[in-house]
């Protein structure tokens, strides 16, 4: 893996956004060649989305030939509920960019047949040629998407019941009222994300530090599902200083020492203006 450590949240968000920007532009997307991006929600990626929007508004990055697949969506929450992941993606990303609505895929938590919806989602990913870059976050319990502790590391898109840790973490979005938080969600599986050609995990904040430690310094374990990516050939973990608080000094020093190599991935920052 690459472990990219930036000083703070803003710098980590910016690094991640630059990386995504460069990957898309270097891919040279076009009419017969779409770049497929897996996308997360939550508070961690907000800074990254803001930077991507900035690059778009500056004319440096277009999403015209990008297809997106979100990781998850709550079950039973109306699509236009302010806390649904559809609302999140619309307000924080889609409404600010030029993506074709037909290419923005999010699981429908109100489908009549939820498993069929999940199967159809897997099929759409396959038909799109697989995911080029899957961006994700990590839960305080070490989960990727809603693959809660105990999820199979080869799982596919399916219905999951949320763990108490996750419900507690999400309560802040529902006026702190636990009874209002959805208890079920549709989520891509660990296996689904592992199929992506490249994976980037964003982790910021001290409250995620223990999960990061478990994910990269301990073994592959279904109790900390992000650990599965130790077996992926191309994973990048982008984090801030606070997220490294539970790691060994040795690990942190090693990867900080590699920053000059990591930074070659984002510098120079490409632009579609140069007719790439």
């Amino acid at each position: 893996m690459r472990l990219v450590i930036l000083d703070n949240y803003d710098l980590a968000s910016e690094w991640a956004a630059k990386y995504i920007c460069n990957r898309i532009i270097q891919f040279r997307p076009g009419q017969d060649r779409y770049f497929t991006l897996g996308l997360p929600t939550g508070s961690t990626p907000l800074g990254c989305y803001k930077k991507l929007i900035e690059y778009h508004k500056n004319g440096d990055l277009s999403f015209k030939y990008v297809k997106t697949f979100n990781m998850d969506e709550y079950v039973g929450l109306p699509r236009n509920h302010p806390e649904s992941y559809h609302s999140y993606m619309w307000n924080n990303f889609f409404k600010h960019i030029d993506i074709d609505p037909n290419n923005a895929h999010i699981l429908d938590g109100n489908a009549t047949d939820l498993q069929a919806e999940c199967d159809a989602f897997e099929k759409k990913i396959k038909e799109a040629g697989g995911i080029d870059l899957f961006v994700g976050g990590i839960g305080p319990d070490g989960h990727i998407a809603f693959n809660e502790p105990g999820s199979s590391l080869v799982s596919r898109t399916r219905l999951k019941t949320l763990a108490m840790d996750t419900i507690l973490a999400n309560a802040k979005y529902f006026d702190g009222d636990l009874s209002k938080v959805p208890t079920m969600a549709l989520t891509v599986g660990v296996g689904t994300v592992m199929d992506a050609r490249e994976v980037m995990i964003l982790i910021t904040g001290a409250h995620k530090a223990f999960a990061l430690y478990k994910a990269i310094e301990e073994g592959v374990n279904h109790m900390w599902t992000v650990s599965a990516f130790q077996q992926h050939p191309r994973t990048i973990f982008v984090c801030d200083e606070d997220a490294t608080l539970e790691l060994r000094v040795k690990t942190v020093k090693y990867f900080k020492g590699l920053m000059h190599v990591h930074n070659k991935l984002v510098d120079p920052l490409y632009s579609m203006k140069e007719g790439n």
Partner: protein, 373 residues
Amino acid sequence: MRGGQGAARAPVIQFTNCRILRGGALLREDLWVRGGRILDPEKLFFEERRVADEQRDCGGCILAPGFIDVQINGGFGVDFSQASEDVGSGVALVARRILSHGVTSFCPTLVTSPLEVYHKVLPQIPVKSGGPHGAGVLGVHLEGPFISREKRGAHPEAHLRSFEADAFQDVLATYGGLDNVRIVTLAPELGHSQEVIRALTALGICVSLGHSVADLGTAEEAVQSGATFITHLFNAMLPFHHRDPGIVGLLTSDRLPAGRHIFYGMIADGIHTNPAALRIAHRAHPKGTNTLSGSIAPMDTCVRHFLQATGCSVESALEAASLHPAQLLGLEKRKGTLDFGADADFVVLDDSLHVRATYISGELVWQVEEARP
């Protein structure tokens, strides 16, 4: 939201680079319009999977709901109360000219007049949708003749009336019918007025109190009978008195029916009302304030003056000219708001609240000179 058959195929226009008045706040959001109505872009994206057909850059301006003037007696040389063969042209002229003031809907107002005038004029002022031809006519505001002699102001004394025994029939006979009528201003101290108020309210007509010497008790009774508006607060009524605040006391009365909201119009032109009085009223009852032009100062001038005199927020001043009149007339789902599904009647304002452009049903109906091609 669809505005009707075929509206789904109508072009989607996205107004960008603007701040819109929504939910009482100025938000940095785009305004989406289709088929003459405000559109929910999130629904468009996820359900119809469509984007805008056209984007229009608003240059950082404020987009507010179109202003609604519920009391305008004429203007530009036209007097609605003048019995003429062609009242329609006069109304049309005013309707077109007030577009430049940001007014997208209005109630042509007739002052106290002889029966013949009502019978001749009223049928010539039908309710009409707005458009490039002019602001929409919501219905006529009949200010008089059932008002107080003492507080008639400029109304002709000879044509004042009081209610006869069969009061409602008297009303019908006087006006010749209530078909195009939206608001009636009367003095509630007149005998039989309570039954008239009840009858008019039952017909869906807004009853307003004004040109009156009523005390607070009488005014409260009128509200209990259905009155919901006060015509040009402070003007043509008894002044506030600490032992009997009169009609002005309705702003803070605790004897109004539960859940009922009293609205009041103020002519905020810097002449009819002292700024301190504007402030007292607005602070006492901010949700009820309606700015009126009363055909003297243009509506946008009144909004600016009201903002400056009361020191209220821009949002409050804009709502006083749009949302509150719409609420008064029970139209707040379609007018006076930029909520999804509402009619796309809106005004483009610069930061000092000068009108740059006016839109009705999503169509540009007026813009400032230098913007024209």
